[in-house]
C-alpha cells in the first residue's frame, strides 16, 4: 500500500515548454514578481528618470553655455564640474557652503541624539508624569514647518540688519547681535528643535520593544546600571540611533527654508541654499553639480547606515517572544525629568507657536497692551495696505490654497501610503532579490535629493511632453506627482518595516483557507497593517503640508499651496499675514493628524509610549 518503491509511476521527463508553464503558473499564483516589476517601472519613471536627467545636465553643455563651455548643446563637458569645484568662485558657491553644512549637520545630530535619546527613554520606559501627554507634545515641532520656526525666530530676535517689523527683543530695548539673529547658530538650533521628534520617535520605539530581561540578566551577572546602559542597552539601540542620525543628516542636507530666511541676510549659505541660488539664476549645469554633491553625501551616509545595520541584524533579539517591559521608577528624578521634558516642549513648541500667533494679533510686536492687540490681520476689512486689504480668513486665495493643500497632499499621501505598503510587500516577499533591492533603493532615493533639486528634476523631465505624457508644467498633476514621489521614502520604509514584522504565515493561512490574492490583500494583509498604513499616510501628509522647498518651483499662482502662498506674502512684506498662514498650516497639519488617527483608530503617540 504504502511504498517509496520504484514501481510508483515516474512522470515523463517533460518538455521545456511544460516546465516553463509550471513556473509561470506558480509565479502567477503569487503575483509578487509581477507587482514588483510594475512598481519598478513606475518608480524608475517617476523617481529615477528625473534625477538621472538632471544629473546628466551636470556633464553636458547647456544651450545657454555653448560658447563658455566650448561645445555644442548636449555635448559632454567638464566645464560645470571645474567651475563648481576648482574655479575662483568655488569657495563661495561650493566649499564654504559644504563646510557650513558639515558644521550644522554635525551639531544638529549631536544635539538631537543627546536630547532625543533621553526623551525617548523617558516617554517609553519610565513612569514620567504625563507621559502620554508628553509623547504627543514632543512630536509637535515635527508637525510644524521648519521655516515657521525661522519666522518665529525672526519675530523674536530680528535686528536692524534687515528691514521689516521690530522683533520682540528689540521692542524690549535690546539689539541682538548678528550671530544670534542670523546664521549658523539659529539655523542649528532651529533644525535641532525641528528634527528632535525623529530621534524621540525612533529611539522611543526601539526602547519600547526592548526586553527588560536583557537588562535583568546583565544586572544579575553583577553589572552596574551604568555598565548595563553602555554595554547592553546602547549597543542594542545602535540600529535605531544610526537610522535616526541618517534621517536627520539627510534632512539637514535638504532643508532650504530655514537657511533661506536666517542665513541669507548674513550671506551664510548651506549647500541647499547655494543650490537654490543656482537654480533661480537659471544655471542648470551648476545646480546639477551641487545637487549631485548633495545626493552623493546623502547616499554615502545611507550606505554607511546600511552597512552598520547589517551587522546589527545579526543580533536581532529585540522584541523576542516573552519579552517583559518593565517601567523604570524615576523616584527623586521625577521632577527634574518632568521639568526637562516640559522645558523642551516649551522651547520647541510653545514659544515659537505663541510668538508667531501673538505677532498676528499685535500691531507692534512684543508690546502687550490692549491698544496694541488687534484681530484685523485675521478678519479685518479695509486695512491700510496696498494689497491684501482684508484679514487672511476673508481672502479667497487663502482658501483656494488651503483646499489645494488638503486635496493634493491628501491624494499624494494616500497613494504613497498604499504603494509604500505594496513596496514593503514586494521587498519582503519577492523571490527575485534584485527587484527587492531595486525597489528599496529607488523609493528611498528622493530622501537624498533635496526637495528643491527634486523639483528641478521634475521640471526638466515633465516640462516637455514625453511619450504619452503631455507637458505638465503649471498643472496640479506635476505637484501631486512630485509630492507623491518625494513621499515614497517615508511610505516605503513604513511599509517594509511593517511587512518584516509580519511573517508569511497569516497570509499562507488565508491561502489555505481558500482566499485568492485580492481577498488576502483586502481581508488579511491590509487590516493587519492598518496601524502602519496610517503612519505611512500620516507622516507623508504632515511633511507634505508643511513642505516648501519641493513645491516652490512647481506651484504657479493658480496652483498655490499654503506654503507657497505664505512665502509670496513674506516676499511682499506682509509679515503678519504670512505668520497667520503659517499658523493655519499648523492647524491643517494638526487637524489632518487627528482625522487620520480617528479613521485608523490608532494613535501616533502609541509609537513612542503611553
Amino acid at each position: 500500500m504504502i511504498g517509496n518503491s520504484a514501481q510508483a509511476r515516474r512522470p515523463a521527463s517533460g518538455r521545456a515548454i511544460d516546465r516553463l508553464r509550471y513556473r509561470t503558473r506558480t509565479w502567477l499564483s503569487e503575483p509578487t514578481i509581477v507587482f514588483g516589476l510594475l512598481l519598478s517601472c513606475l518608480f524608475a519613471y517617476f523617481i529615477l528618470a528625473p534625477v538621472m536627467m538632471m544629473l546628466v545636465d551636470a556633464i553636458t553643455v547647456d544651450f545657454a553655455d555653448q560658447n563658455r563651455a566650448g561645445g555644442a548643446e548636449g555635448a559632454f563637458t567638464g566645464y560645470y564640474l571645474h567651475r563648481a569645484l576648482a574655479s575662483r568662485i568655488s569657495p563661495y558657491i561650493f566649499w564654504t557652503p559644504l563646510l557650513n553644512t558639515a558644521i550644522v549637520s554635525f551639531c544638529v545630530i549631536a544635539i538631537t541624539l543627546a536630547l532625543g535619546s533621553l526623551l525617548g527613554w523617558l516617554v517609553s520606559r519610565t513612569d514620567l508624569l504625563g507621559k502620554r501627554w508628553f509623547s504627543t507634545a514632543l512630536v509637535v515641532p515635527y508637525m510644524v514647518p521648519s521655516w515657521t520656526f525661522a519666522l518665529a525666530w525672526l519675530a523674536l530676535f530680528r535686528n536692524r540688519k534687515i528691514g521689516g517689523l521690530n522683533s520682540w527683543v528689540e521692542s524690549l530695548g535690546f539689539s541682538p547681535p548678528d550671530w544670534l539673529s542670523y546664521g549658523i547658530v539659529p539655523i542649528t538650533i532651529i533644525l535641532a528643535l525641528h528634527y528632535l521628534p525623529f530621534v524621540i520617535l525612533l529611539v522611543g520605539n526601539a526602547l519600547r520593544q526592548f526586553d527588560s530581561q536583557l537588562e535583568d540578566s546583565a544586572r544579575s551577572l553583577g553589572a552596574s546600571p551604568r555598565i548595563v546602559a553602555f554595554r547592553i542597552v546602547l549597543p542594542l539601540l545602535r540600529p535605531s540611533i544610526i537610522s535616526a542620525a541618517t534621517l536627520v543628516f539627510a534632512k539637514c542636507l535638504g532643508d532650504v527654508g530655514v537657511t533661506y530666511i536666517l542665513g541669507v541676510p548674513v550671506k551664510v549659505d548651506l549647500l541647499a541654499t547655494s543650490l537654490l541660488r543656482t537654480i533661480s539664476t537659471g544655471q542648470d549645469g551648476m545646480s546639477a553639480v551641487i545637487a549631485g554633491a548633495i545626493i552623493i553625501l546623502g547616499a554615502a551616509s545611507v550606505l554607511i547606515d546600511m552597512r552598520l545595520l547589517k551587522t546589527a541584524q545579526r543580533y536581532v533579539t529585540i522584541g523576542a517572544k516573552g519579552a517583559i517591559h518593565r517601567t523604570v521608577r524615576l523616584g527623586r528624578w521625577q521632577w527634574p525629568a518632568v521639568t526637562f521634558a516640559a522645558a523642551v516642549v516649551f522651547v520647541s513648541a510653545v514659544v515659537p507657536l505663541f510668538a508667531l500667533f501673538l505677532t498676528t494679533v499685535m500691531r507692534t510686536p512684543g508690546i502687550i497692551s490692549a491698544g496694541n492687540l488687534t484681530l484685523e490681520f485675521w478678519i479685518g476689512h479695509d486695512l491700510d495696505t496696498t494689497a491684501l486689504r482684508q484679514g487672511i480668513l476673508l481672502t479667497g486665495e487663502f482658501w483656494v490654497a488651503t483646499w489645494n493643500t488638503v486635496w493634493m497632499v491628501g491624494v499624494a499621501s494616500v497613494a504613497a501610503g498604499l504603494l509604500g505598503l505594496f513596496v514593503g510587500y514586494v521587498v519582503v516577499r519577492s523571490p527575485v532579490a534584485a527587484v527587492a533591492a531595486f525597489l528599496k533603493q529607488v523609493t528611498f532615493l528622493p530622501y537624498l535629493v533635496p526637495g528643491i533639486a527634486f523639483a528641478a528634476a521634475y521640471l526638466s523631465m515633465f516640462a516637455t511632453p514625453h511619450g504619452p505624457i503631455p507637458s505638465l508644467y503649471g498643472t496640479t498633476a506635476i505637484l501631486v506627482l512630485a509630492l507623491f514621489a518625494s513621499q515614497m521614502p517615508f511610505a516605503s520604509r513604513a511599509g517594509i518595516a511593517a511587512m518584516m514584522q509580519m511573517g508569511k504565515e497569516p497570509e499562507e493561512a488565508a491561502k489555505i483557507a481558500g482566499a485568492g490574492w485580492w481577498r488576502r490583500a483586502v481581508a488579511i494583509v491590509l487590516p493587519i497593517h492598518r496601524g502602519s498604513l496610517v503612519s505611512g499616510i500620516l507622516l507623508p501628509f504632515i511633511s507634505g503640508i508643511k513642505g516648501l522647498s519641493l513645491v516652490i518651483l512647481l506651484a504657479v499662482p493658480g496652483t498655490d499651496l499654503l506654503t507657497t502662498y505664505a512665502v509670496r506674502l513674506v516676499d511682499y512684506g506682509y509679515t503678519q499675514a504670512a505668520n497667520a498662514v503659517a499658523i493655519m498650516i499648523c492647524v491643517v497639519a494638526f487637524a489632518g493628524t487627528w482625522v487620520v488617527q480617528k479613521i485608523g483608530r490608532s494613535n501616533l503617540a502609541d509609537g513612542i509610549g503611553g
Binding site: S5, P11, Y22, I512
Partner: protein
C-alpha cells in the same frame, strides 16, 4: 484524471525534487511517497531534512523543481506536464506551528473566514462555527481576539478554523511542540479523535519522535532530503532501516559499536556475532539500544556475557540510566532495577539476539533471518 480506484485517493508524491537554487543541495531529493486515504502519516526528521518543505509543497505553498503531486487522483503539481493548482484551490487544511491566527479577527471571525470564502450561507456558517467550537471546547472564547487567549486555546482555534471547512487532507506543522506536557497529552488525544471522526488524511511534520510515535499510524523518516524509512512506529523503532534511523529514533541514543575498531567491546561482540548466520566481514557496525542491555552483577560463569564497570547511575523516575565502561569504551544501559548495582561495581551484560541491529559498510540494515 480521477478514477474510482481506491489506491488513487490520498496523496501521491512522485519523484519530487526541490532545490532552492544558488548551489544549495536538494532540499528534497527524488521523493516518492504514497499516502493512502485516512492515513495519519508523520514526516519525521531533524531540522533541515526537507520534511517541512515536503508539507509545504503538498499545500502548494512551495513549488517543485521536478516531479508531481496528486491529491485524490487529481494532479495538483506537475512540473513535467505544466500543471499547478493554487493553494487556495486545493481545499486543504493546514495548522501552522505558530498557529498563524489572524490577529485582527476574533476567534469566531477566524473560523468563519474559510466558510465565507466557500459562500456558505450565514445560518449554516453559525451552525458550523458552533459545532467546531463545542467540539474543541472554545465556545466561551468566540468573541475574543487571539492575543486574549492562551497558547493552548490558540491551537484549538487554529484546529477549529481548519476543520470547519472539512478538508480532505489535513496538514499539521509540529502540532504539539509549542505546548506544555499536560496540554500535549490532551491535544494528542484530541487529534486522534478528530482523525477518527473526520476520516480525512492527516499528514504532519515533526522533529520530535515522541510526537511521531504517539500520533502517527505511519512514519516516514527523512534526512538530507531523502526518505530513509517508511513504516509503522514500532517497525521504525525495532527494525531501523539504517544507522541514521537507528540513531535518530529512541529517547536514549543507541549504542553504536564500530567493528573496525579494536578493544574489549569489539572482541566480545565478534564472539557474540559468530553465533549469527551472517558473514562477519559484512558487518561494519552494531547498534544496541540501552533498553535491550540485560545487566547483572558480576558472577562466576560469565563467559557469554560481557564484563563492564559502572561509571555512573542516573535516575530518570522509574528507570535508571547506567553508564558503563568496557575497556575504555562508554556504553549506555537503561535498567528498571538497580539491585546490586552501584558506581564502581563490576557487572556483566548481554543482549537478546533480536535486539541487535547490524549495519553494513553503507550503513544499511543487515537483516538476520
Amino acid at each position: 484524471m480521477a478514477s474510482g480506484a481506491r489506491e488513487m485517493s490520498g496523496v501521491s508524491i512522485r519523484s519530487v525534487t526541490k532545490n532552492y537554487g544558488g548551489g544549495t543541495p536538494n532540499a528534497v531529493a527524488d521523493l516518492d511517497l504514497e499516502i493512502p486515504e485516512a492515513e495519519f502519516l508523520c514526516l519525521l526528521g531533524p531540522s533541515g531534512c526537507g520534511k517541512s518543505t515536503t508539507l509545504r509543497m503538498i499545500a502548494g505553498l512551495e513549488n517543485l523543481s521536478s516531479g508531481e503531486i496528486l491529491i485524490d487522483g487529481v494532479t495538483v503539481d506537475s512540473v513535467e506536464k505544466g500543471i499547478f493548482v493554487r493553494p487556495e484551490d486545493r481545499n486543504m487544511g493546514l495548522v501552522f506551528q505558530n498557529y498563524a491566527l489572524w490577529p485582527h479577527m476574533t476567534v469566531e471571525q477566524n473560523i468563519e473566514f474559510g466558510l465565507k470564502i466557500r459562500k456558505i450561507p450565514q445560518p449554516e456558517r453559525q451552525r458550523r462555527i458552533g459545532e467546531v467550537a463545542s467540539t474543541l471546547g472554545i465556545e466561551q472564547y468566540r468573541r475574543r481576539y487571539p492575543s486574549e487567549i492562551s497558547g493552548g486555546q490558540q491551537q484549538r482555534v487554529a484546529l477549529a478554523r481548519m476543520i470547519a471547512v472539512s478538508p480532505r487532507i489535513i496538514l499539521l506543522d509540529e502540532p504539539l511542540s509549542n505546548l506544555d506536557a499536560k496540554l500535549r497529552l490532551d491535544m494528542r488525544a484530541e487529534l486522534k479523535r478528530i482523525h477518527s471522526e473526520l476520516g480525512s488524511t492527516f499528514i504532519f511534520v515533526t522533529h520530535d519522535q515522541w510526537e511521531a510515535m504517539t500520533l502517527a499510524t505511519t512514519i516516514a523518516v527523512m534526512n538530507e532530503g531523502r526518505l530513509q524509512q517508511l513504516g509503522k512506529p514500532e517497525d521504525i523503532y525495532e527494525r531501523p532501516a539504517n544507522r541514521f534511523v537507528a540513531e535518530f529514533v529512541g529517547t536514549l541514543p543507541i549504542n553504536i559499536i564500530e567493528m573496525a575498531d579494536d578493544g574489549a567491546l569489539k572482541a566480545w561482540m565478534s564472539a557474540y556475532l559468530s553465533h549469527l548466520p551472517v558473514n562477519p566481514s559484512e558487518i561494519a557496525s552494531v547498534g544496541l539500544r540501552p533498553q535491550s542491555l540485560d545487566l547483572r552483577p558480576a558472577g562466576a560463569a560469565d563467559t557469554p556475557r560481557c564484563a563492564a564497570t559502572i561509571l555512573d547511575i542516573v535516575p530518570t523516575g522509574g528507570n535508571w540510566i547506567v553508564e558503563l565502561d568496557v575497556g575504555g569504551e562508554r556504553l549506555l544501559a537503561l535498567s528498571g532495577d538497580i539491585d546490586g548495582l552501584a558506581t564502581g561495581r563490576q557487572v556483566t551484560f548481554t543482549v537478546d539476539r533480536k535486539h541487535v541491529h547490524l549495519f553494513d559498510s553503507g550503513s544499511s540494515r543487515i537483516n538476520v533471518v
